[in-house]
């Protein structure tokens, strides 16, 4: 691999996504789980832009733009839920949260 191919970017994307997934599966702090989800969304963007670069198309870049917008909305709602959770249950440990009702 002496020059850049799409496979380089796909492997980078896969590595970032899987690191984020392992974080979601193994950590207990809900804020770190949240950051790992952001990492996974970002990894998907790398794939989209890599494919757009390979295909000389802009669709991948525009999809990545929408992913960034949805990630921003998700961040706002997710952090609001974290705030409400910590105020009500006084914890950010995901193992302590067992029920949806109060």
């Amino acid at each position: 691999m002496s020059e850049l191919t799409t496979a380089h970017f796909l492997f980078l994307s896969a590595a970032l996504f899987i690191i984020g997934m392992v974080g979601v599966l193994t950590r207990r702090n809900v804020l770190i789980i949240f950051m790992c989800v952001e990492l996974m969304l970002n990894a998907v963007n790398v794939s989209f832009i890599g494919f757009a670069w390979e295909q000389n198309a802009l669709t991948g870049q525009i999809f990545a733009l929408f992913v960034i917008a949805v990630a921003a909305a998700e961040a706002v709602i997710g952090l609001g839920i974290v705030m409400a959770l910590s105020r009500r249950l006084d914890t950010v440990d995901i193992d302590e949260v067992r029920q949806l009702r109060e």
Partner: protein, 240 residues
């Protein structure tokens, strides 16, 4: 080996190492700083991929807005005893790493045997340069072909704003009092103190246990045994 491949390996290596730092750091603030490092390196890779607008948007939205929001919430909900998060759960970690390795092998096989390729699009580097650059090209595409999705995105952001306002509203006084009673009731008889998992409605009236205020609005339960105490309401209105 071409110089751009070396630059890619440098950027990708730092991005992956920083992503591993997000997962491995003990302090959530260190995780957030690692995440910034990872995002900035990925933004540099976007520039290599001729996506300059997205590189800028990545830095503004992710590292500018989202990380600042995460750090604010982190400071607001931060607990003092962090190390308890790291105790135990070796099985969960083993399962997480094994699943990660299995998925990595699977995706690597998929990437290496990839053969299906679509027809190349019309936005060659020359065509992008002809309309004035990456931002102009994205703007033309976004506001003609993708007009409806971008309006739906505007609605989504509005809904998210309203939802965040609802979630972060101040609590009612009654709710706050109920939580305070739940958290600050002291039992002299029950070794575990109050049991917040007992529902209110199914509790019978207290028989011999007395309830009085210990000053500072904390309820003090006087009971002769643990069984007597568990008949007291654990939250809600204090019965007198």
């Amino acid at each position: 080996m071409a110089i751009e491949v070396l630059i890619f390996y440098l950027l990708a290596g730092v991005a992956i190492a920083a992503a591993a730092g997000v997962v491995l750091a003990r302090n959530p603030v260190h995780s957030a700083v690692s995440l910034v490092l990872s995002f900035v390196n990925v933004a540099a890779i976007y520039v290599m991929l001729r996506a300059e607008f997205l590189a800028v948007a990545q830095i503004i939205v992710y590292t500018g807005a989202i990380i600042v929001l995460v750090l604010f919430v982190l400071m607001l909900v931060q607990q003092q005893d962090l190390p308890e998060f790291h105790g135990g759960r070796p099985l969960r970690r083993a399962v997480g790493f094994l699943l990660g390795l299995a998925l990595l092998a699977e995706v690597a096989a998929a990437i290496l045997t990839r053969s299906l390729r679509g027809a190349p699009g019309s936005w060659t580097p020359e065509a992008v340069a002809a309309v004035g650059g990456n931002i102009q090209a994205i703007g033309r595409e976004l506001y003609s072909v993708y007009m409806l999705p971008i309006q739906a995105t505007a609605l989504l952001l509005l809904a998210a704003t309203i939802g965040a306002l609802f979630l972060a509203r101040p609590e009612l006084i009654e709710e706050r009092l109920a939580i305070a009673r739940r958290l600050f009731t002291i039992s002299l008889a029950h070794p575990r103190g109050v049991d917040p998992l007992q529902p209110v409605a199914e509790l019978p009236a207290p028989q011999d246990g007395q309830l009085k205020l210990a000053g500072g609005d904390r309820a003090l339960v006087m009971a002769r045994s643990a069984e007597e105490f568990t008949e007291q309401p654990a939250w809600g209105e204090i019965r007198r």
